[in-house]
Symmetry: C3
Subunit: 139 residues, 3 copies
């Protein structure tokens, strides 16, 4: 069986936001036949989504997360900047692992779907993302 | 390694709701030995759940999503019918990809678990779902 | 292709909480080379998370779930103890399946990440968790 894994380094800077991983994922699976791509972020305050980007939903998601997990003083976890406890609950609602089918070396995404890193934590400037392909035509 | 993929076409009509995919998934993996089944919906306003169906929780989920993501005018994404911006945030909370272990050609679901498509978007009448099996005894 | 699966039995007792599965997952993949580990809980009122444990975020998650899914009389699902309908919506927000890359027999988790069962249902004393590895160097 084929297996392939790599790590990406993403510069997220000091803002909260979504970071599009789709092109990097497409490059990773290109020419690799059929399989499953797992995208995984090894950080405790990030998540991964598959959604439409660039038409306002990025901002809408960040606001919805802020409404569900307000950055106030309610959090037991008190390390870091004020409200940072909220960041640590994000991965329960927006998991750090997502799997996408790969067919003939292409992601089987829909027209309006992109894969994105969600990072609400403004204290980390760089993030790692691991791409792993388990598949048929590789290796 | 074995690999098998197919697309289902689901008629969701003009109502928001949950659509049971369990029987179709069972048929897809029957006789295929051991592996992982990935269920994936290539639409930007759908999600997939594994939960009990038919005892009221379907309605409860739709109401909980409505409470978390109200269909009002708060959304930056403004295409489609009023409140449609909410639909575009659904996949961040209810992801469009879920993976189920397959053991000896059967889904390793619990007694009360079903696999369902969640579609809050009333503007689309038909949806596609991709089933993908990566496994040991196939191919 | 390699395939390996097992079931764990977890004593959750009569409290709601998070139950750390990381050590059991590490043992399961040790020496097994590269692959994908799927963790799956075959119960309709549980979820799985990858997050930091032991610094307060466990409690924060349970409170956040309680805020999103209050244990009051709003639920259509009316079996079990009062508010139990909320438990049945938990798996839509905190899915019962999560996949983790395995590299050279080790989970590719980040420093602060643990894998945990989330069980808000106080009526069940024991839970099953299925670990499944699909991988390269096994079998």
């Amino acid at each position: 069986m084929g297996f392939k894994t790599t790590e990406l380094s993403i510069t997220t800077g000091s803002r909260s936001g979504l970071f599009d991983l789709t092109a990097a994922c497409e490059r990773f699976v290109a020419g690799e036949g059929d399989g499953l791509l797992n995208v995984f972020v090894p950080h405790a305050t990030c998540g991964l989504v598959i959604m439409e980007l660039g038409a306002g939903s990025d901002v809408d998601l960040l606001r919805a997360l802020e409404a569900v997990l307000p950055r106030d003083d309610r959090w037991t976890h008190r390390h870091g900047s004020p409200g940072h406890g909220a960041d640590h609950v994000v991965p329960a609602f927006v998991p750090p692992s997502i799997t996408v089918p790969v067919v003939e070396g292409r992601l089987a995404l829909g027209t309006w779907q992109s894969i994105a890193l969600v990072d609400t934590n403004v204290d980390n400037q760089r993030r790692t993302v691991r791409l792993t392909l388990v598949g048929g035509a590789i290796g």
